[in-house]
């Protein structure tokens, strides 16, 4: 399946990526080749097969997966904010959300 540059732009927008002109060009060629390759799955009749589902924690375990709901120590506000590029008075700071 060929993939146009405008489709690449649409996917980039969904993925919160901007991409340079060169990236858009190379990705449209590379993604088309990859999608053509994965399209070979259409050779398989899967109409009677249920999609794979992860096993639940209970199925993976020898005993019940539930536990007592006990309050334990957590990271704390200071540590949680420490790695943020910009924060103030216990809040993450970001550029304006509306307008501008």
């Amino acid at each position: 399946m060929p993939i146009t540059q405008s489709e690449v732009e649409k996917i980039a927008k969904l993925a919160n990526l901007e991409l340079t002109t060169e990236e858009r060009e190379s990705f449209s060629v590379q993604l088309a080749a990859i999608i053509e390759y994965i399209d070979q799955l259409n050779e398989l009749d899967t109409s009677n097969i249920k999609p794979w589902q992860p096993k639940s924690a209970g199925e993976m375990s020898q005993s019940s997966a539930s536990r007592e709901d006990i309050v334990g120590p957590s990271l704390g506000q200071q540590k949680a904010l420490e790695q943020s590029p910009d924060h103030d008075e216990g809040h993450f700071l970001v550029p304006r959300v509306i307008g501008g």
Partner: protein, 474 residues
């Protein structure tokens, strides 16, 4: 070449008083310092911390040997595993300055077992790749021949062991990222059963496929590492509450009657002739040692790469949405609005392969394509799981090549992502099925580059794999 000591040998030196954790750790750090400009295995070396912790162990080492399986052993960990206070980059610009405030469960267990973490190793950015060329901090190089890739994505962890910097290391494996670099560097690498090892503190790539595991120079050290890191963890709801057997005790070397399944689909088109020859010779060797070879079928082998690159990228596009410049890591300067800041941060922060996979994953999950790609892949994944269940009715262990070729040259495949993906054909299916697999060396090519064989087992049968590998190693 550096003298490579096993954990047992280092422990003998400690027991006899011939050496101390301080000396062994200093020697490891000196070797890393000497080699790293050439091999680029380490992104960060914690010389000060490692020397301090090692020296503090000197006095009590003989007592520690009785109850700490990794007492005084220098260990390297892949740089997508968090250790409190140690910079963790995932080889990405977007996490270039990230210092995690907590420690991964697997890393904590190593430390509790007496291991000394000496540094963080290079990888393909966010573990996406099979050559360690996709690192924002430059490629690692294969110690067998520095013009060749060490494999990936746990390339740095494989190089650190193969070059004799450390006896053991930790990697992560989403589609072969422990086993393929182990194969390319001539060492042992094990991908445990999904759920065997807690993923808490591993930066997520594809959550239904990721698993942490050991790399080592020999099977005994691999078994010892697995023993330490395995088990249920309340911080990872997908970690299994299944008893951890005695992996070291399972190493008898006796494989009489072990049924080794050989799937013809893994020995056909696309397999390098030399790899085929070495892997077949290794299977013959096991037969000579008492194993029985049986034919099995993995009929959907030709579809596994397609299934994998749909599911892994879909999960990655979701997992990597968290990198937005708000809570941690890199943020692009001077954006006018929040949405512009998100886009520019991700544009400048992620490398090409990561963007490519986020794009593919976003595409296969997008409205109008979800059923045709993502759901279709999950249906075929169910078929693959069933293929393994059928095969394990007839055999105890399945043997395949780890990779279809010996190591390739740096730069050889970097412009052709699909060619790179096709190299994952024998490894990705193991992650899709959630079963364990080990890669161990089985020979070298005429160019003197290592070749590995992969043993695959049913869920939670790592002990069986380790013993088969041990029988071959002897």
């Amino acid at each position: 070449m550096t003298i490579k000591r096993t954990i047992d040998q280092i422990h003998e030196l400690y027991a006899s008083g011939e050496s101390t954790p301080g000396e062994i750790t200093k020697a490891a750090l000196d070797r890393i310092e000497r080699d790293n400009a050439g091999l680029n295995a380490f992104l960060m070396v914690d010389r000060e911390g490692a020397e301090r912790r090692a020296k503090a162990m000197n006095a009590g080492i003989k007592a520690d040997l009785t109850h700490k399986p990794l007492a005084g052993i220098p260990v390297a960990i892949k740089d997508n595993l968090c250790a409190e206070g140690l910079r963790t980059t995932c080889a990405s610009r977007i996490l270039g300055n990230y210092v995690p405030p907590y420690t991964a469960t697997a890393v904590r267990k190593l430390e509790e077992a007496g291991a000394i973490i000496v540094g963080k190793t290079n990888l393909d950015e966010f573990a996406m790749g099979g050559s360690t060329e996709n690192s924002a901090f430059g490629p690692s190089r294969n110690p067998w021949n520095v013009d060749y890739v060490p494999g990936g994505s746990s390339g740095g962890s494989a190089v650190a062991v193969a070059a004799g910097h450390v006896p053991v290391s930790l990697g992560s494996d989403t589609g072969g990222s422990i086993r393929q670099p182990a194969s390319f560097c001539g060492i042992v690498g094990l991908k445990p059963t999904y759920g065997r090892v807690s993923r808490y503190g591993l930066v997520a790539f594809a959550s239904s496929l990721d698993q942490i595991g050991p790399l080592a120079n020999n099977v005994r050290d691999t078994a010892r590492m697995l023993q330490v890191i395995s088990g249920h963890d309340r911080y990872d709801s997908t970690s299994a509450n299944v008893e951890v057997p005695d992996y070291l005790g399972a190493l008898t070397g006796d494989i009489k009657g072990l049924r080794i399944g050989v799937p013809s689909e893994c020995f056909g088109e696309g397999l390098d002739a030399e790899v085929r020859e070495k892997v077949e010779a290794a299977i013959k060797l096991l037969e000579d040692r008492g194993a029985r070879v049986v034919e099995v079928s993995l009929p959907h082998t030709r579809y596994v790469v397609a299934v994998y690159y749909i599911i892994a990228t879909a999960e990655a596009s979701s997992n990597l949405a968290r990198f937005d410049g708000v809570r941690y890591g890199f943020r692009a300067e001077e954006s006018r609005t929040l949405s512009e800041m998100y886009r520019r941060t991700r544009d400048e922060g992620f490398g090409a392969e990561v963007k490519r996979r986020i794009m593919l994953g976003t595409f296969v999950l997008s409205s109008g394509y979800y059923d045709a790609y993502y759901e279709k892949a999950q249906r075929v994944r169910a078929m693959l799981v069933n293929d393994f269940a059928e095969a394990f009715r007839k055999c105890d262990v399945i043997a395949t090549p780890t990779a279809p070729t010996p190591p390739f040259r740096i730069g050889e495949k970097s412009d052709d992502p699909l060619a790179m993906y096709l190299g994952d054909i024998y490894t990705v299916t193991i992650n899709l099925a959630g079963v364990p697999a080990i890669s161990i060396p089985c020979g070298v090519s005429k160019d003197n580059l290592p070749i590995g064989i992969q043993f695959i087992g049913p869920h939670f049968e790592e002990a069986r794999l380790l013993n088969a590998a041990y029988a071959m190693e002897k």
